[in-house]
Every structure is written in structure tokens, then in C-alpha cells.
């Protein structure tokens, strides 16, 4: 009796220490994120709904206690302003549009790329995969800068075209929607390729043989088997491209024109040009909410198809 009890105790102790180890491993990154993401985000959220003092410099506390009365002051005027001012609505719309176009182009380029990479001889795949991830070896800022040198009025492409007498005057490519889209696609296409590749390479090729055996032409087999089975990769890739490109700041700033409206730039302007921290915070919070929508759809989709094994 005593023996079994002591074993039981040991078991519990072991369980606790094991859980402790697990908690530490999970806890450290979570702690880091809480400290450097959640807390700042809450600060931003607080600023976005705070009213300022008479001087308009110091933010007041949301909750105050005076004369035995608790007071909760939440200022929503910034948010109301966001939804009424056409500039913001236009900016959000334009950001969603650019992110969607970018996602779509990345899909058009990335899917066939990932497909042929997954169907290439197994010995070649590591090399191809390496080439996709090679750009990450250089800072993305530098690579975006490099496009400037290519697309400028006085850049490599225009110079070559003029030298070849194809054109007389340089084509205006830099600081347009075109240059920005190129930069975005260039930067984000690996994020589409990798998850799509991962699902395609895992696919059992006998399923395609089975489809053909049952009378499906190669194209039908692709459409009815390969595409549905790579859906998870497509959704994951689209999220990985769409979400960061929605809030992208560097690429619109360096390659976009003065008229390309992106949330990231408006955010920067509100913070550092207008110094309207409350308004800027409201813009930031709205952007996070906007990103949460596709993420929620993504998670719901994952949960729905979560039961499908082997994909």
C-alpha cells in the first residue's frame, strides 16, 4: 500500500516537473510576446480612446476616481472620424485592394512554381527549395532598394531600352502602382510558394493514377484531386501574403507613388508628421481588426477541415 502510494507520489511529482518544463518552453516566447506585443498594443488601444488634457499634450487616464465616483471615459471620436473621413476609407480600401492584387499575382506565379517544384525529381528539390529561400539571405530593405535602381527613369531598364532604341524617353515606372506591385510580389512570392509546395509534395501521386484510372483526363485529375488537396496550402499561403502586405510600409514608401494610399504610410504620417497620436492609434487598431477578419475565416476553415488527415 505504502509502496503504491509512493509510486503515485513520484508519478505526480514527475508529472508536475514535466509540465513545468513544458510550461517554461511555451512560456518564454509567450512572455516575450505579451511584453513586447500585447502590452504595447494595449497602450496603443488606450491612447486611441483617451481624451487629452486642456493643452492637448497629456493623455488622461481612462478610469478616474474622484469624490467617491468611478469614472470611465472613452473617447470614440477618433473611430467615428475614421469611418466618416473619405481619406481613411479610401486608404483602407486601397490597402485591401493592393494586398488582394498582390496575393492573387503571388498565387498565379507561386502555384505553378510550387507545383513543378514538387513534381521535379526528388534529388533536385532541395536545390530548388534553396533557391526560393535564397533571397532571405539579403535584407529585404536592400532588395526593395535594388528595384529602385532597376525601375528609375534613369534606371537599368530604361537605360537599356533607350540604348536599344526601343524608346526615346524613359517610361515612368518608378513611384507608381506598377513599381509598388512589382516590389510587393517580388517580396512575398516565396511566402506563397513554400506552403503550397509543402502540401503538394506530401500528396500521394497514386491518387492521380486512381483518378486517371477512373476516367479523368490529366487536366480533370489535376482539377478534381490536386487542387482540392492543395487547398490548405493555398489558404495558408494567401494569408501569409495578404496579412503582411495589408500593413506594408516600406515597399509603398520606397517604390509607391505619392498617390498610392496604404494604411502603413497613413499611420506613419499620423504619428510622425501630424503628431496626432490618438488618431494614429485608432488607425492602427482598425488595421489589426481588419486583419483579424481574414484570420478568423482562415481559422474557421482550418477547424472545418481539421479532420482531414494526410493532407
Amino acid at each position: 500500500m505504502n509502496i503504491t502510494k509512493s509510486i503515485g507520489m513520484n508519478g505526480i511529482v514527475r508529472l508536475l516537473t514535466r509540465n513545468w518544463g513544458r510550461r517554461t518552453v511555451i512560456g518564454i516566447p509567450y512572455g516575450f510576446l505579451i511584453l513586447f506585443f500585447s502590452v504595447p498594443f494595449l497602450v496603443v488601444l488606450k491612447i486611441s480612446v483617451s481624451s487629452t488634457d486642456e493643452l492637448g499634450i497629456h493623455f488622461q487616464d481612462l478610469i478616474s476616481y474622484a469624490d467617491g465616483i468611478f469614472q470611465l471615459k472613452i473617447k470614440l471620436s477618433n473611430y467615428i472620424f475614421l469611418t466618416t473621413d473619405p481619406l481613411y476609407i479610401e486608404t483602407y480600401w486601397s490597402s485591401v485592394k493592393f494586398a488582394a492584387i498582390n496575393t492573387f499575382i503571388c498565387f498565379l506565379i507561386g502555384y505553378p512554381f510550387a507545383y513543378f517544384m514538387a513534381r521535379s525529381p526528388a534529388s533536385m528539390r532541395p536545390a530548388l527549395l534553396m533557391m526560393v529561400s535564397l533571397p532571405f539571405w539579403t535584407s529585404y530593405l536592400l532588395r526593395v532598394y535594388a528595384w529602385k535602381g532597376l525601375l528609375d527613369d534613369n534606371g537599368v531598364i530604361n537605360n537599356i531600352l533607350i540604348w536599344l532604341h526601343v524608346i526615346h524617353d524613359p517610361i515612368k515606372m518608378m513611384h507608381t502602382g506598377f513599381s509598388m506591385t512589382i516590389g510587393m510580389v517580388y517580396t512575398y512570392v516565396p511566402f506563397m510558394i513554400l506552403p503550397v509546395y509543402a502540401t503538394l509534395v506530401k500528396m500521394d501521386l497514386r491518387l492521380l493514377e486512381a483518378a486517371k484510372d477512373l476516367g479523368a483526363t490529366p487536366w480533370k485529375a489535376f482539377w478534381l484531386v490536386t487542387v482540392p488537396l492543395s487547398k490548405n496550402g493555398i489558404v495558408a499561403g494567401s494569408m501569409l501574403v495578404f496579412i503582411p502586405s495589408l500593413g506594408e510600409y516600406v515597399i509603398p514608401e520606397l517604390l509607391g507613388g505619392p498617390s498610392t494610399l496604404m494604411i502603413g504610410r497613413v499611420l506613419w504620417d499620423e504619428f510622425f508628421s501630424n503628431n496626432d497620436w490618438a488618431m494614429a492609434s485608432a488607425v492602427a487598431v482598425s488595421m489589426v481588426v481588419l486583419i483579424l477578419v481574414p484570420l478568423a475565416i482562415f481559422n474557421k476553415y482550418r477547424a472545418d477541415s481539421g479532420g482531414v488527415r494526410g493532407i
Partner: protein, 382 residues
């Protein structure tokens, strides 16, 4: 050329329903299938049996259309199918791991092939229902494959490839993914379904028992060629060569020299004993031969066998050897004895356990006589 052969074969010739004519497949100069010819009758279950790499799967994949033959022809019901793409062949295959579409339900899996034929919707529904009825999976129609057991998945795969009513059904290791107990039950069920549907069937297996139980005829393959084609009993009782004898079931092999060669019997000497074989062979005196003897054909007893016991052996001393029991393995329905003969050779002899308690219990180390009938000896001349 191809057409003339097709015409001579003639549509509706049921003994040559599937005609494989000098078919070869080379992979980088290595012949996976080497100049193979075969006729399969309508309604027959035919098994290609061999160890891995013998070319049986390549042959099956050529029939399905996944591999193009390097040379040779294939005719199904008089129609040249060698150059037809897989999706146009009236042939359906059940894959080894079933290859069920994981994103489709059982119902959709079975309907997949019918939809490709643009069959009207109500007919598809009718056919799928009928197929699920045959394989007893009606209640599972809305499940996804991963929600089914291995045996159920196998039945979905069968229903899916029978749904299109193919002229030829191909089975690739049909029971390979099932555990032993389930496999035994399924073997008969599978044969019953195939026979009731009446489809001609070619299957590939490495499991000789599976081939013997299921197939009407078997081809034993090695290195891309057929070593022997015949009924299971024929292959077991009169193997054509050493490989077939060893591949199908257990066998004891003796090396021997032909001493007497008469039309009605031969006498073969070997270090273990002199073999009296009561059928003639095509051979000459002093020819080296192999003698194959199945373990269950060998009798063990404590006293020397009498002439009366060995009807066929003309004299004392033939087809009998003294030895010691070296090992006993109890398998339930039979017991296998390892007997060390005086020459040092160890032979296997098995005895069926028909009674629960054996009267004469043989023990390890016991001296015994092993003997067999002259008609049970198979002489392998090549």
C-alpha cells in the same frame, strides 16, 4: 499488323478475353517484363505471383496504362489497348493502399468514375447505391475515407473500381494492407463479389497463399518472365522448376542421380536414400536432377516402414531414411518436425493434428523413420 492480330483474335473469343502478346518493358536497358505472352479467359481470376522486383507490378501497370510497353501488344476483348491512355481503357484498378480520395466521401469516391463518363445523375445514384450494397457499406456513404477501418476502405476501393463495370479488374496486392485475420475472411468475400459480378480479374500478389486461395490460375514470375502458368494445384503439386517449388509452400529438396530410367518408373540415388519414382521422366541415366518433396507428404514413424505401407516402392529401402527429430514446431492445425537424416541433411515433415491428443507423441532426439510414397516425389530435371 496490329489489326490483323486483333481480327484473328476475334471479339468475343472468351478464352482469349485478354491477350498479352510478347510484351516487354525496359527501364534503362533492364527488362522489368521480358517478352511475356499470356491469355486470360473471360471471367477468370488470374494471379501474377512473385517476389518484389519480379516485374508483376510493372505488368499490371502496363495493363492499367500507367506504363507504356517497350514492345509487344495487348488486346482486351479483341481491342488493341496498348496505346490507349489509362482514362480511356475499360479497365479499373484497385490500388495497393487503395488510393481513396481523402477529400471525398465514400459516396463521392464511388461516383467519381461514373461522373467522368457523364452518366445521368439518377443513374449514378442508382449505381453507387447498388455498389455500396454489394460491399455492405451503405450506412457509411457520407463518411470520409479516414473515418473507416482498413477493411472498410478496402471495400470502398473495390466498389469504386467495380462501379464502372470494367471489362478487366486489376487488383494490386488487394489484401496486403489488412491484418492476417481480416485477410483470411476478406479473401473469400472478395472472390465471391468478383465472381458474382462476373468481371475478369488480374491480380498481383507476393503472397502465395493469397494467390492459391483466390485465383483460378497463377503465373509465377521471376526476373520479368513466367516460370510456370497453371492452376494452383498444378503449381503446388507439379512445380516446373526449383524456384517455383521453393516459392510455393515448403519443400524438401534432394540432389540425385538417375540410376534406372524405365517408362513406368525411375530410380534416383541421393546421399540420403534411393528414390523410387513411379512415373517416367524425360532424362538419361546419370543425369543430375533435383527431387522435391512436400513436408506433408512425409510420414514419420518409430518402426521401419513395411512394404505393405509403401505400396509403390518395389523393394525395401526405397523412399525411406532414418533420422533423429531435431526440432518440433507446433502450429495448431499441424505440427512440423525437423528431422536430421543420417547423412546430416535436415528435412521438414509435417503432420496434421486431426485428434486433440496424439497417441504416439514424437519427441525431440527420438530416432525415427521418414518415408514417403513414390507418387508424391517431384523430379525437377532443369
Amino acid at each position: 499488323m496490329a489489326d490483323s492480330v486483333a481480327n484473328s483474335t476475334g471479339r468475343g473469343d472468351s478464352s482469349q478475353f485478354l491477350k498479352i502478346d510478347r510484351l516487354s518493358k525496359h527501364f534503362d536497358e533492364v527488362a522489368a517484363v521480358d517478352n511475356v505472352s499470356l491469355d486470360i479467359k473471360k471471367g477468370e481470376i488470374f494471379a501474377l505471383l512473385g517476389s518484389s522486383g519480379c516485374g508483376k507490378s510493372t505488368l499490371l501497370r502496363m495493363l492499367a496504362g500507367f506504363e507504356m510497353p517497350s514492345s509487344g501488344n495487348m488486346y482486351l476483348d479483341g481491342e488493341d489497348i496498348a496505346k490507349m491512355p489509362p482514362y480511356e481503357r475499360p479497365i479499373n484498378m484497385m490500388f495497393q493502399s487503395y488510393a481513396l480520395f481523402p477529400h471525398l466521401t465514400v459516396w463521392e469516391n464511388v461516383a467519381f468514375g461514373l461522373k467522368r463518363d457523364r452518366m445521368p445523375k439518377d443513374q449514378i445514384a442508382e449505381r453507387v447505391e447498388a455498389m455500396l450494397g454489394i460491399v455492405k457499406l451503405k450506412p457509411f456513404a457520407k463518411r470520409k475515407p479516414h473515418q473507416l477501418s482498413g477493411g472498410q476502405q478496402q471495400r470502398v476501393a473495390l466498389a469504386r473500381c467495380l462501379a464502372k463495370r470494367p471489362k478487366l479488374l486489376l487488383l494490386d496486392e488487394p489484401l496486403g494492407a489488412l491484418d492476417r485475420k481480416l485477410r483470411e475472411e476478406t479473401q473469400f468475400e472478395l472472390v465471391n463479389i468478383i465472381k458474382s459480378v462476373g468481371v475478369t480479374c488480374a491480380m498481383v500478389t507476393h503472397d502465395q497463399e493469397e494467390a492459391m486461395i483466390m485465383a483460378d490460375r497463377i503465373a509465377v514470375m521471376q526476373e520479368g518472365r513466367f516460370l510456370q502458368v497453371g492452376h494452383p494445384r498444378e503449381i503446388y503439386e507439379t512445380p516446373s522448376c526449383l524456384f517455383v517449388a521453393g516459392f510455393i509452400g515448403d519443400v524438401n529438396l534432394f540432389n540425385g542421380t538417375v540410376e534406372v530410367d524405365e517408362p513406368d518408373h525411375v530410380i534416383i540415388g541421393s546421399p540420403e536414400c534411393r528414390h523410387f519414382v513411379n512415373h517416367g521422366i524425360t532424362g538419361t541415366i546419370d543425369m543430375q536432377v533435383n527431387i522435391a518433396l512436400r513436408p506433408e507428404k512425409i510420414c514419420l514413424q518409430e518402426i521401419e516402414p513395411t512394404i505393405e505401407q509403401r505400396e509403390s516402392a518395389a523393394e525395401h529401402g526405397y523412399n525411406s531414411a532414418r533420422g533423429t527429430i531435431d526440432g518440433i514446431a507446433y502450429f495448431g492445425k499441424f505440427t512440423q518436425f525437423h528431422v536430421r537424416l543420417e547423412s546430416g541433411k535436415i528435412i521438414k515433415a509435417s503432420r496434421e493434428n486431426t485428434a486433440r491428443h496424439e497417441e504416439t507423441q514424437l519427441e525431440r532426439g527420438q530416432q525415427i523413420y521418414a518415408w514417403w510414397d513414390g507418387s508424391d516425389v517431384v523430379v525437377l530435371t532443369n
